[in-house]
Symmetry: C2
Subunit: 188 residues, 2 copies
DNA sequence: TTGCAAAAACTAACGTCATTAGTTATTATA
DNA sequence: TATAATAACTAATGACGTTAGTTTTTGCAA
């Protein structure tokens, strides 16, 4: 007697994200996922094309969350205030969903066009939030790389115990962001 | 007739680092390493305590390189010049030894005291190079977190194809570093 | 309502990997 | 030269991803 478990791609992804958050992306295995869902692991192949596909899907799932979150973070704000809000949102997300976030930044070059589209949406949020600084096209792009590096570096080091000193993370982030933004204002 | 392969921990690490650089840290397997060394994989256990130990040793090996490299980068320089030199060295290293660098930032909290000692050496380089800025203790530490985040974020995004636009990496790094340092100068 | 095709679960099997236990051959030392 | 330590080995186990082939359920059309 074999029961039908009504699985679909979405519930699979949600469960996978939970597992990744709990145990780290490296420990997200198809076995563990199948067990969590009350199913044998080959059954997962009905919804997902193996582990690489699952991780790629998780990355897209994560970007989707991030885009929504950051659009939300800058509503009704502009300039420095918007960027600071966006930054804390980013880091809060990375802390709350560490496994999901891990999937996000390990995107392969070969990833889906869907992911690319979401990436552009993310990019455009940065571009628009930087408009008040009047940096020009090139420097805006340099700046965006800087912001992304800063945010991702912070998240990554925080997750991997890279910061060993006892010093509040949020204070550090705030200090660093303020310095960077001040540097931008005082002209390149 | 079984030949004795004069292996030791050092040659093991060197070969492992090469493999990691070629194929990524995730694809550094004991099988592959054994094959590269002309040995069966259980033999590796005479020199290394399993895969976790190997990766941890690689991390230490990497920090060692980084400390040497960065000491070298700041010789005869100070202030902004020193920091910029240090930054480009850091990124050049991350590009040239991607697998090794990967091992470095995935250090576990449970890693060896040797690693911790090297980490402190790295920290002290940053502290001394920031002295001219007169930031005070707290802000110096915040700043170091910022620098490390920036550098690591840059390296990580570069490695993981996070930067998709066609724009020179080094120019971006230079622009961003200058902005951050200018922000520091103009007082927190 | 019945019959059939698609979908979603399953079992069985294979290859790869890390790891452990136990064995043999080589080296170094007493 | 004998013996102890060392470094290689073989054999075996268990976890995992993946494929192939099978069964069962479901939805839809006749």
């Amino acid at each position: 007697m074999v029961r039908r478990m009504g699985l679909d791609r979405e519930t699979l992804l949600v469960a996978a994200a939970e597992l990744a958050d709990e145990a780290g992306l490296d420990n997200l295995t198809l076995s563990a996922l199948a067990q969590k869902l009350g199913v044998r692991s080959p059954s997962l192949y009905n919804h997902v094309n193996g582990l690489p596909d699952l991780r790629s899907a998780l990355a897209a799932y994560c970007i989707q969350h991030l885009v929504d979150l950051m659009r939300d973070a800058v509503i009704g704000k502009s300039g420095e205030e918007a960027i600071l809000s966006l930054s804390t949102s980013y880091l809060t997300f990375a802390r709350q969903r560490p496994g999901l976030y891990e999937a996000f930044y390990k995107i392969e070059a070969s990833d889906s066009p869907e992911t690319a589209k979401l990436g552009e949406q993310l990019l455009s949020i940065f571009i628009r939030v930087l408009e008040p600084y009047g940096l020009g096209e090139q420097n805006t792009l340099h700046t965006i790389r800087g912001l992304r590096s800063l945010l991702h570096g912070f998240a990554s080091l925080e997750q991997n115990n890279g910061f060993q000193m006892k010093l509040d993370f949020d204070e550090s982030l705030h200090f660093v962001m303020k310095a960077f933004l001040k540097g931008l204002e005082s002209g390149a």
